[in-house]
């Protein structure tokens, strides 16, 4: 992952001399494509994608699953959050080869036929404004409440700190997560306390 994050270091913005392309540079940018298979929302997909292509763009541009959003490309905003084998990850920096063979869950697969309790709480408390970050917020929140059935504000802040909402839905996000956790795990939380 760390290696991957350095890819943008050759951003052309600040280069003022034309440089000859080196052979190593050529190698880095001539990555191979290969067929990759994974399971997305309980459906099997095989797709021809180049090495290094982030899962986000495989989902959006190749599989045409556009619920997962692009916000920053650097794992800084969380709009692209999906679950890989049950763990919330930023798909904009996860190379496709690292996702191959894994079980992936996106916003399209969060609820089943019915809305997930988080989606329900999001609607009841009218969390969304522009809504663009909400796929990522919901996926991060789902991973949180699956782990922690009764999160406190501080725990929510810690778990959701990677998800930016520019419209400022944060107070409602806190409330909606607690409501969904309560609805889903009322029995468990009561037993635990």
């Amino acid at each position: 992952m760390a290696v991957y994050l350095t890819i943008n270091r050759k951003s052309s913005y600040y280069q003022y001399e034309i440089k000859e392309e080196t052979s190593s540079e050529r190698d880095e940018f001539r990555s191979q494509t290969a067929m990759r298979s994974f399971n997305v929302n309980s459906q099997e997909y095989s797709v021809d994608a180049p090495d290094g292509m982030p899962l986000l763009w495989v989902l959006r541009d190749l599989l045409k699953l556009r619920g997962t959003k692009f916000g920053c490309g650097k794992a800084l905003c969380g709009a692209c959050t999906v679950h890989v084998d049950g763990v919330a990850v930023r798909s904009c920096v996860l190379p496709v080869e690292a996702a191959a063979g894994k079980r992936i869950r996106t916003i399209e697969g969060l609820g089943g036929q019915e809305l997930h309790p988080l989606q329900q709480a999001w609607l009841e408390l009218q969390v969304s404004q522009c809504g663009y970050c909400q796929s990522g917020q919901l996926m991060s929140a789902a991973a949180l409440i699956e782990q922690n059935h009764a999160p406190t504000d501080a725990q929510i802040d810690a778990a959701m700190g990677g998800n930016i909402c520019r419209c400022g839905c944060y107070p409602r996000i806190r409330a909606a997560i607690k409501q969904a956790a309560r609805v889903t795990y009322a029995g468990a939380a009561a037993t635990a306390s």
């Binding site: 034309i18 999001w122 009218q126 419209c167 400022g168």
Partner: protein
């Protein structure tokens, strides 16, 4: 003495500027069949009495809405107004973005069709009601004729006309008959008595809410067309830079790349998907001749703006003898405040998709400025307006950026498509986050120089406010807002200073040097409110007066201040102003009339060493009649968080003419852990409805900074507060 005589109201300022060449307020129902879609004879199965709505036999009512939906719930609010006046069943409502037509022009904006400056409810409330009332009366007429009864014996409710006895008929069943009728004249319209409103005034969930929690492809960036390619542009890093050279073949050979083309804004790589375009773009190694703007740096700009602020400049407003009173004063206070350049940074990166043939252009974009998009597209493609088809998408945030003075993103996409005609492919132009944050079109930096002469009573006798800021509206279609060298948006809040100050002068200097600038959520008020409300606080502290009480004194005895005073009192009451708080925790207040909407905020802040935490914000707002109270609450909550990002950490600084920030690591917009508890209290009244979308933004910075002073004795005069050695 009354300061109200010198006040400008939003309506006065904007309409005064809009008299020449304005299309004026055009009521939709007078324009039957002017809509492009209805130039063909309307099919009998659709009742379309005007451009603002249509009803189909299944009873579905579609509200056609001029304002774009960028999170402010305006689609919901205007559909509520329409449904209420129509007596439609809310369950039957659907919404659709309006095409560009005179019916939808924003009368505050010189006929421009744009969603900006919190104007939507204010400008479309009456026209929407009138359009719905016309439709309702036609449906009643159709039912009455069918039954052979008098109109007076019929009424409407929940999408049905109800006649004498128990007979009733649904709107859907009346579609064919109503479509044959002529719309009533404007004078013949009967509007509902507001006491009979069923939807207006209620908190109704946003109409597109479900799509937003289930990941539906509703945004511009989600558009997918057969054969669509993705373009990314390496743009000039500073305004006015010239392209010197680049490595074309390296990018062209990259797998998945279809073309490399030059466009006025830079060099575009067109590829099969985003990832290929991004990677290939990195190979371009574009070389620029930066030109004179390549020498601009923030410290230099700040020095020159500050120097200007210490000299007199063009006068926006003056009364009394400010110079004399300041010279004679025994107690003079001087302070300077500044705010930095800011990037809007909407969560959805900027994008636009265009498909062009020889005869037609289709564009898919989340836009705040459809009328300029149409102009730009018809000009670039050399086609008449009728050949340009704009498909408005939902906006993943706008904050002003999705309506720029030259609609740079749409224009750039059109140029890419034009330059790559041979590909015969629809093209989606995407900006990376770095392109957005480095890309200019910033909220202007501003420096404020304030001087006050305090009288024996501890109240200001004279007040001088000098503002130095680039103009966001000059050279745009909004240049009608520049009068006698004064950009009204830059002095908003300052020249309508609400306080009882007998001698007052506001000056504005408008330098041309700097990056490209444009309006951002709350425009000039985000600067003036910070400067004025911080300075008022300093004056109160200097004379050992309670900041709320000080403001009350300055507001009373001034005509027109009753509603502003009322929100101040309401916020103070709800925040329990003056209560005992632990050491290091304190409250701060700020108020402002934002173009007719009155807002007061009280922030409670804890300062520990250099660390600041905003614990709680209480806001009172009076925006006249409220259509959707939860919609207003949401906008205030969001406005406060948006304003906090700017107050606590965000700034764009320039070195070599280029932004030193590029993504959310260096441009730290607020995260959930720093979000305070927010309480919003809405004053209910029957004044004409006003704006809400931006009105929560300006007050939070001064409220927080005043609280920081109260908690720690540290005065923040330059935003963000990291400049004062503080951190979140």
């Amino acid at each position: 003495m009354s300061s109200s005589s010198s006040k400008i109201t939003r309506r006065a300022a904007l309409v005064a500027g809009a008299t020449i060449g304005s299309v004026g307020l055009v009521i939709g129902f007078r324009h039957v069949n002017k809509d492009r879609a209805s130039r063909q004879p309307a099919p009998k199965e659709v009742f379309k009495p005007n451009a603002l709505l249509r009803i189909t036999p299944d009873g579905r009512v579609t509200a056609v809405i001029a304002s774009c939906e960028m999170g402010q719930a305006i689609h919901t609010a205007l559909a509520m107004v329409l449904a209420d006046e129509l007596d439609a069943d809310w369950k039957d409502m659907a919404v659709e973005d309006a095409p560009v037509l005179p019916e939808f022009a924003n009368p505050f904006f010189n006929g421009v069709q744009a969603t900006m400056a919190s104007t939507s409810v204010a400008v479309y409330y009456d026209t929407t009601r009138q359009a719905a009332a016309a439709a309702r009366m036609m449906l009643v007429e159709a039912a009455r004729t069918k039954w052979g009864v008098a109109a007076a014996d019929c009424h409407t409710s929940n999408g049905r006309v109800i006649g004498p006895g128990n007979q009733s008929v649904s709107y859907g069943e009346l579609v064919a008959a109503a479509a044959d009728l002529r719309p009533p004249a404007k004078e013949a319209l009967t509007l509902k008595d507001p006491k009979d409103f069923k939807l207006i005034g209620r908190s109704i969930p946003r109409i597109e809410g479900r799509a937003k929690v289930t990941g539906q492809p509703i945004y511009g960036l989600d558009v997918d067309l057969p054969g669509m390619l993705t373009a990314m542009v390496t743009r000039a890093p500073v305004k006015g830079a010239k392209l010197k050279g680049y490595r074309r073949s390296a990018a062209e050979e990259y797998p998945g790349v279809r073309a490399v083309v030059e466009v006025p804004s830079g060099v575009a790589v067109i590829a099969d998907h985003y990832w290929a375009a991004l990677r290939a773009r990195e190979l371009l190694n574009v070389v620029w001749d930066l030109g004179p703007n390549g020498g601009i740096s923030s410290p230099e700009l700040e020095r020159s703006f500050t120097a200007l602020s210490r000299q007199s400049g063009p006068i926006a407003i003056t009364r009394g003898d400010v110079a004399g009173e300041l010279a004679r004063s025994k107690k003079k206070v001087v302070a300077e405040y500044s705010v930095p350049y800011l990037a809007h940074a909407p969560m959805e990166p900027l994008n636009c998709t265009i498909r062009a043939t020889a005869t037609d252009v289709d564009v898919w974009v989340g836009t705040q400025y459809p009328s300029l998009d149409m102009k730009v597209l018809s000009k670039i493609f050399g086609l008449p307006d009728s050949a340009v088809h704009l498909h408005c998408q939902l906006l993943g945030g706008g904050f002003g950026r999705r309506g720029s003075p030259d609609e740079d993103v749409v224009a750039e996409t059109a140029e890419i498509v034009k330059a790559s005609r041979a590909l015969k492919a629809p093209i989606r132009n995407v900006w990376a986050r770095e392109d957005d944050i480095r890309g200019g079109f910033y909220r202007p930096m501003a420096v404020n120089h304030l001087e006050a002469a305090l009288g024996e009573d501890g109240l200001p006798k004279a007040w001088l406010h000098r503002i130095v800021s680039q103009s966001p509206v000059r050279s745009s279609e909004f240049d009608f807002l520049v009068t006698k060298a004064i950009d009204q948006t830059s002095v908003a809040g300052a020249q309508d200073n609400p306080y009882a100050i007998p001698n007052l002068q506001v000056e504005l200097q408008t330098p041309e040097t700097g990056p490209t600038v444009q309006w951002m959520r709350s425009v000039g008020n985000s600067n003036t409110c910070f400067a004025i409300e911080s300075f008022v606080d300093e004056l109160a502290r200097q004379t050992h007066q309670d900041p709320v009480e000080f403001r009350r004194k300055l507001l009373s005895n001034v005509k027109d201040n009753a509603r502003l005073l009322n929100v101040l009192n309401l916020a103070a009451e709800k925040a329990d102003w003056g209560r005992t708080l632990p050491a290091g925790t304190a409250q701060g207040v700020a108020i402002q009339d934002y173009w007719g909407t009155k807002v007061a905020q009280i922030a409670q802040v804890t300062v520990r060493g250099d660390h600041v935490r905003v614990d709680r914000v209480v806001c009172a707002i009076d925006c006249g009649r409220v259509v959707n109270p939860d919609g207003v609450t949401m906008q205030i909550e969001g406005g406060i968080i948006f304003g906090l990002s700017a107050a606590l950490g965000c700034e764009i600084t320039l070195e070599g003419g280029q932004s030193q920030q590029s993504n959310f690591d260096t441009y730290p917009v607020l995260r959930i852990s720093a979000a305070p508890q927010i309480e919003v209290h809405i004053v209910q009244n029957t004044e004409p409805p006003g704006g809400a979308g931006e009105t929560g933004v300006p007050h939070i910075a001064p409220a927080v900074c005043n609280a920081i002073f109260a908690a720690s004795g540290r005065r923040v005069r330059h935003l963000p507060l990291t400049r004062s050695g503080l951190k979140v």
